[in-house]
Symmetry: C2
Subunit: 233 residues, 2 copies
């Protein structure tokens, strides 16, 4: 049987050996939901960058700058961290440099993996389908400042359910995520709305983003990370 | 509303401020199940010790020595790590020094808490009842070598359910544990039998231990940790 395991936080990744594995990076609110939306919408490349000032330097290389701090657009940036920003028709063919602390950290910490994929509820089935012939899968939840978070772990549980009969969860984190997802899967939006992250970033636009990020299978694509850059697979 | 939160691994405890909190140490297989059983059976004091050789030094101070390595009794020790060892009638009034790596680490890392309690399924309701007038509760899962484990997180979910309406889970780990527990609560023994820990330590006696450690409310006591020593509350 093929295997699937779950790392619930970047602070725990040292416990895992990523060599030979296909790693799925998950940061549901909102980095990997944005990246999935952007690539599905025809964005040609997205470069995740941890630091705002490093991101700013990407403008001279022809990148649009994406980012928010405290829910506000960053001065001099072109767009925010909403998936709707990535879904504008004007984005087709564009290259984007996006600030995201947790997502960037998870991507850097996955370097030893055989391949790195971008996962979100928006492309859940596409990711599962892609992984069916891969022997060893790692779901890497980006969390928030090292803390375990609800929405990323629910995605892990959802992916384990999708791969049932093909991949066996081999660590307890996977079992926890699977049973947690089973309880709340009919009410994903409601439950994610009560997560720590959602409570931190409340407000009208955020509610719209959370509703969108909780949707299943809007897009049939699997973005890949190669050399720190996200492109279509 | 009073609060409850869950730390899923000693490797994550640095994210939490334990001051002013009542911390419940959980190491279902089998340290805190043993300690609960022993104190319920009249053992007067249990000292958890990480290292086998440090434990051995406790004999001269009048302690019985408890411990296993690889499922075998340790040479020169009086008893193993089974709750049934702690339930022998000959244990009444005795003092025990017990080797437990994960449990001892969690206890040491909880030193800043207002108080430290020992939790297991065996005394779930007693712990919940005790905590009802405490404002801030931390459930500290001992895990296994830093890894998140299933049985400790299920206890956290069970305790959150018991305290429903009194304590609100304020972190996502608590929400994950609660929904995970809801799915599997009717089949605790079966589910815990499939955990990583149970698979590591299989065999006849271990199955009996797991069955016992999965039972709810066998004992109406709340052991406390004071100065590194576990005694009745």
């Amino acid at each position: 049987m093929k295997s699937i395991e779950v790392c619930l936080s970047p602070d725990l990744i040292g416990q895992y050996d990523l060599r030979g594995k296909s790693t799925v990076i998950v940061d549901i609110l909102r980095a990997t939901s944005c990246f999935t939306s952007g690539i599905a919408n025809g964005v040609s490349e997205i470069v995740p960058v941890a630091d705002v000032e490093d991101c700013r330097l990407m403008r001279d290389k022809g990148y649009l700058l994406a980012g928010e701090r405290g829910g506000e657009l960053i001065d001099g940036f072109d767009m925010g961290n909403s998936p709707f920003d990535y879904l504008q028709s004007s984005m087709k063919g564009k290259r984007v440099a996006a600030t995201t602390t947790n997502g960037t950290k998870a991507i850097h910490l996955s370097a030893e993996s055989d391949e790195i994929l971008i996962g979100s509820f928006l492309n859940l089935s596409a990711v599962a389908e892609y992984l069916k012939d891969r022997d060893r899968v790692m779901v890497f939840c980006a969390g928030w400042k090292g803390k375990v978070n609800l929405e990323d772990s629910l995605f892990a549980g959802a992916l384990i359910r999708e791969l049932q009969g093909v991949h066996q969860p081999i660590d307890d984190s996977g079992l926890i995520c699977r049973s947690s997802y089973v309880t709340v899967r009919e009410q994903l939006y409601d439950v994610i709305s009560k997560s720590e992250h959602a409570r931190r970033l409340s407000g009208y636009n955020m509610a719209r983003d959370i509703e969108f990020c909780s949707r299943l299978n809007e897009f049939n694509i699997v973005p890949q990370v190669r050399n720190g850059s996200i492109t279509p697979s």
